[in-house]
Structure formats: structure tokens, C-alpha cells
């Protein structure tokens, strides 16, 4: 009844399928880096330190795009993280039990909305709101805080950060939720037995045990924000300059690629864009590997992750 041939075939096929995943990643990295090579060889200094992006003169300074990417992502992270952790704690430990699933479901729905729909909403709802109401209200603060200096057009670093914050919130919340739920119940019971209040259980027993997983979840959100393209391209204003204020238009690496890649005609321009893509790829690879490693550590309960 045994059929060793069939078994061998089955094993070979599934192994090949599994191997396809590392293969794709290696090929992807190799292809992008190779295509970027001419620019890296010719313009590496400009790419890394220059801030002028002038295609006809072959000046490819990527600093504004790099800075814009990092700034928009970090501001989005600063907005989304407390909210996402709040949601996760609410839907695992604190909120009424019958609200746990519905709230988690609604927040997850945010992740199902396509990026371009966020962009559309950003362009026609968020930006007018910023320009007409929120920015004018904050402008007086600009006298003391340079962060809020005008002029207030609407498309800006602030608009991009807000859209990004909404977009990454569900990712951070759902990973955090998973991690919090992986904390063994005995951990909570022990704290309760010692007379902790419900919040103290969370603060002293749950959060420390989940810490590295939570950091992983936040980094996963960061990875998403760094690579998010269209929604950002539609609201950030696409200006090749380092923003001085939250109200300034800016640029990100991903939106630069979205705007210029299809129209790049000269080899130098194309290769410079490839170099930007390679840099984006390497940054997100690093962030993702680290994030997944941290999350898996908690999920599989390795020693050192459970007690601190």
C-alpha cells in the first residue's frame, strides 16, 4: 500500500515550494541592488548626503526623501502606538468582555481599506480639514514652536503622518493583542492573588512579559509606515526639501518611486531611483527581520521573554 515514489515526489514538491520563498527574497534583493549599482558607483555620495534632486543635471540627492520617510513614519508611530496599545489592552484585559471581539474586528477593518482609498480620503477630507480648521488653529503656536510654522497649504508632513498613523494602527493593535493573549493566565492570576488591581495586573504582570513582542509589533508598524506609498504620495505634497515644520510639504522614498519611476527615461535617473528602492528595501528588511524575531520570541515562549 505504501508508495515511496509518491511520498518522495510529495516531499520534493513541498520542499521546492517552501524554498521558493527564500529564493524570491534573495532574487529580489540581488535584482534591485544590481540595477542600482551604476548609481551607487557614480552618485553614492550625492545619494547619501545631497539634498538637490535635479534630474536633467543628474543631481540625485536622496536626503530629503530619506528624512521625509523617517520623519513621517516616526511621527505616525508616535501617534499610533499609544492608541494601538490602548486598543490591545482594552480588547484583552480591561474592556467589557463582550466588547473585546467587536472592537478588535472594527479596528482590523481599518487594515482592509486599500491604500488608495486612504489617499482619496486624505486629499478630499483630511487636507481641507487641516487647511481650513486645524492648521489655522495651530498657527499661533508657531510663534513659540517652529514645528507649527506656516504657510499652511494642507498637503504636508502632518497630513502624511496622520494618514500613516491611521493605517498602521490596526497592525500594531492586532500584533499587540496576539502577544498579550499569549501571556499565560497564571501570570495574571498570580498578580491578582497578590492583591493587584486590574490595571496593576496589566502593568506589572502582563506588559513586562509581553514587552519584546510589543516592541516587535511596533516595529512591524514602523516597517509598514516606511514602505507605504500611495496614500502618502497623495497627501505629503511631494517637495524635494527637508521639511522645517509639520506644515511643510515633504517627500518619502516610496512616493518618490511612485511618482518618477514610470517616467524615468535616462539610465542615470532610473538607476538613481533603483538605488532609492534598494535603500528602502534594505531598511524595511532590517526592520522586519528584527520585528518578526522579537514577536516570535514571545509567541514561542523562549526563556527570557516571559520573565524580565
Amino acid at each position: 500500500m505504501q508508495s515511496p515514489l509518491g511520498d518522495r515526489l510529495y516531499r520534493t514538491i513541498t520542499t521546492v515550494c517552501a524554498a521558493a520563498i527564500p529564493f524570491v527574497l534573495v532574487l529580489l534583493t540581488a535584482v534591485v541592488v544590481r540595477a542600482a549599482w551604476p548609481a551607487l558607483a557614480l552618485h553614492a555620495g550625492d545619494l547619501a548626503f545631497g539634498s538637490t534632486w535635479d534630474v536633467p543635471r543628474e543631481r540625485f540627492g536622496a536626503v530629503p526623501a530619506i528624512v521625509g520617510t523617517l520623519l513621517s513614519s516616526l511621527i505616525a508611530l508616535a501617534i499610533a502606538t499609544p492608541l494601538a496599545l490602548g486598543v490591545a489592552i482594552f480588547t484583552v484585559d480591561i474592556g467589557p468582555r463582550r466588547l473585546h471581539e467587536p472592537v478588535a474586528f472594527l479596528v482590523n477593518l481599518l487594515a482592509a481599506i486599500p491604500s488608495v482609498v486612504y489617499g482619496l480620503w486624505g486629499v478630499f477630507v483630511l487636507i481641507p480639514l487641516l487647511r481650513n480648521t486645524i492648521m489655522p488653529a495651530l498657527l499661533p503656536l508657531g510663534a513659540v514652536m517652529p514645528l507649527f510654522r506656516g504657510p499652511a497649504y494642507g498637503p504636508s508632513l502632518l497630513a502624511a503622518s496622520l494618514v500613516l498613523a491611521i493605517m498602521i494602527l490596526p497592525y500594531i493593535a492586532s500584533v499587540s493583542r496576539e502577544v498579550l493573549r499569549a501571556v499565560p493566565p497564571t501570570q495574571r492570576e498570580a498578580a491578582l492573588a497578590l492583591g493587584a488591581t486590574r490595571w496593576e495586573v496589566v502593568r506589572d504582570a502582563v506588559l513586562p512579559a509581553a514587552r519584546s513582542g510589543l516592541i516587535g509589533g511596533i516595529m512591524l508598524g514602523l516597517g509598514r509606515a516606511l514602505g507605504e506609498t500611495l496614500a502618502v504620495a497623495m497627501v505629503i505634497g511631494n517637495r524635494h526639501a527637508i521639511p522645517d515644520s509639520l506644515f511643510d510639504p515633504a517627500y518619502t522614498m516610496a512616493s518618490l518611486l511612485a511618482n518618477e519611476f514610470a517616467e524615468a527615461s535616462s539610465d542615470a535617473h532610473l538607476s538613481a531611483l533603483m538605488a532609492v528602492a534598494a535603500l528602502l528595501l534594505l531598511i524595511t528588511l532590517l526592520v522586519n527581520v528584527l520585528a518578526r524575531w522579537l514577536v516570535q520570541r514571545v509567541a514561542t515562549g523562549l526563556p527570557g521573554s516571559r520573565w524580565t
Binding site: Y10, T15, V16, F90, V103, P114, F124
Partner: protein, 293 residues
């Protein structure tokens, strides 16, 4: 109650209120976005919107029939590449749970699914568009397929792990070979869950735009030729949203509403299938738990 105890209690209350606020604030954008979509899009949803071709700027009417067709074709290409390989990889991961190679593949699958989709588009461009000399639905479909592959693989693994070990052992004890057990018993039991995951992955692929910008590229005409540039609903929304014409902007909202309805329908079907899976599993075994090791 001592002052200290009162203080601790108050602190707990403050934090509880904070988590309530966080939950409320997180749900607000969802409500706002859905409301705007319905408000601006619903009025545009006429039969012609689904059946007509795009109209020139400034002309009323017209539709996105070619974009809907293009999206269907692109997603079909993506799924036919990604689903078989993804399921195969998922089976491997589930069977070699603790293997070193499996752990690497699992990590890399997660990493791949977190990469910016625009980078996948650039990869497909360099791999297919540049050598062939023109944009094509093939390139767009492959880029989307790479996005879907890790999602299907990881979901298949999770679903296969839910299949009770007793079931596998029973099949093997009856003299089934390993491959027949895997395909006819394990995979079939896990199938509803896998179908759900595939549908969710599909809805994600259907909504992606960035990798299509320079692979599928878009096309204002009717085309079903996969070796040519092709229209896609998200691409259409993107270009309409950035146009200066009111008619096109209105159509962008309608397109977004259609896209969201499609995505929702797909995931509702997915949820229905999940329910079916729970029933199926409870019919197979009296007690279904997560069986590890």
C-alpha cells in the same frame, strides 16, 4: 481604605478610561471614512458605471468596466501563481515545524509579507517589463502574486496545524501513504480555513495600487491581453483622484466605494467559510483543540 489604596484605585480608573478612549479614537477614522465613501460614492453608482468605458474628461457618465475586468485578470494571474506554491510551502512548514530550514522560511515569509509593495513592483519591472520592453498584465499579476504568496503559505501552515493529529494517524493506520494523507485528509480538513485566507489575500491584492504603477500601468481602453498594459480599479481611482475634473473626482469616490464593497464581500464570504470550518472540525472530532507537537 488607606490613602495608598485609594491612589492605586484611582490610577487604575484613569488607565481604564484611557483604554476606552483609545478604543473609541481608533474606531472613529473607520466611521469617518466609511461615511465619506457612502456620501460621495453612492450617488455615482449607476448601471452605466459598471458597464461603460471611461468617458473623456469633462464628459458626464462613463464607467470603469475595463478597470474592473483588468482587476479581475490581474488578481487571477496573481492567485494562480501564488496559491499552489503557497499551499505547498504551507504544508512543508506545518510538517517540519521545528526544522531549521522551516524556521528560516517562516521568518522570511513574514519578512516578505512586510516588504513595501512598491519594491515588489520594481522587482517585477526589472524582471519582466524591462526585458520585454513594455508594461503588461503579466508583470502586474506577478508583483501581486509575490505579495500574496507569503500570506497563503503562513495561513495554510496555521490551518494545517489545527487539523487533529488523531485524524492523520487514523489515515496512516489505515494504510494511506503520506502524500495521500496530506492531500486527501489533512488538506481537505484544513481547506475551508485555507480558502478563507486565500480570499482575504485576494482582497488585499485587489486593493493594491503601488506595484501596478509601472507593471500593469493602466489602460484607458478595453483589453484582456495579459501581455499588454491593463487597467485596474485602484489605478483608476488614483488617476481620477489627482485629476482636476469634478466628474472624474466623483468617479474616484464611486470607484473607491466599489473597491471597498468588493473587498468586504470577499471577506464576508471568508468569514462564512470560517464558520463552516468550525462545524466541519467539530463533526470530525468531538473535542477540537489546538494540537501542537
Amino acid at each position: 481604605m488607606t490613602t495608598r489604596a485609594r491612589q492605586r484605585k484611582r490610577r487604575g480608573q484613569v488607565m481604564t478610561v484611557f483604554t476606552w478612549i483609545a478604543a473609541a479614537v481608533a474606531v472613529i477614522p473607520l466611521v469617518l471614512i466609511l461615511a465619506q465613501l457612502l456620501l460621495n460614492g453612492l450617488g455615482q453608482l449607476t448601471p452605466t458605471f459598471f458597464t461603460q468605458m471611461p468617458s473623456p474628461p469633462g464628459v458626464r457618465g462613463g464607467g470603469v468596466a475595463n478597470a474592473i475586468m483588468g482587476s479581475i485578470l490581474l488578481v487571477a494571474i496573481a492567485m494562480s501563481v501564488a496559491v499552489p506554491i503557497g499551499i505547498g510551502a504551507g504544508l512543508y512548514l506545518a510538517e517540519h515545524r521545528r526544522g531549521r530550514f522551516a524556521q528560516v522560511v517562516r521568518l522570511l515569509a513574514d519578512v516578505l509579507s512586510g516588504l513595501p509593495s512598491i519594491v515588489l513592483g520594481i522587482f517585477a519591472w526589472e524582471l519582466i517589463v524591462r526585458p520585454s520592453g513594455h508594461f503588461s498584465a503579466w508583470a502586474g499579476g506577478i508583483a501581486l502574486g509575490l505579495l500574496v504568496l507569503p500570506l497563503v503559505a503562513r495561513a495554510t501552515e496555521e490551518m494545517v496545524r489545527l487539523v487533529p493529529v488523531a485524524l492523520t494517524e487514523a489515515a496512516l493506520a489505515l494504510g494511506f501513504s503520506r502524500w495521500r494523507t496530506a492531500l486527501t485528509v489533512v488538506l481537505r480538513t484544513a481547506m475551508p480555513g485555507i480558502v478563507t485566507a486565500v480570499l482575504i489575500a485576494m482582497s488585499r491584492a485587489a486593493g493594491e495600487t503601488a506595484p501596478l504603477l509601472f507593471t500593469a500601468f493602466g489602460n484607458p481602453f478595453w483589453s484582456v491581453d495579459p501581455s499588454r498594459p491593463i487597467a485596474a480599479l485602484p489605478l483608476q481611482i488614483y488617476s481620477y483622484a489627482q485629476s482636476p475634473y469634478d466628474e472624474w473626482r466623483a468617479q474616484a469616490w464611486a470607484g473607491a466605494l466599489v473597491l471597498l464593497i468588493l473587498v468586504t464581500i470577499i471577506s464576508v464570504i471568508g468569514r462564512a467559510v470560517v464558520g463552516a470550518r468550525a462545524k466541519l472540525l467539530s463533526a470530525v472530532t468531538p473535542r477540537v483543540g489546538r494540537v501542537d507537537e
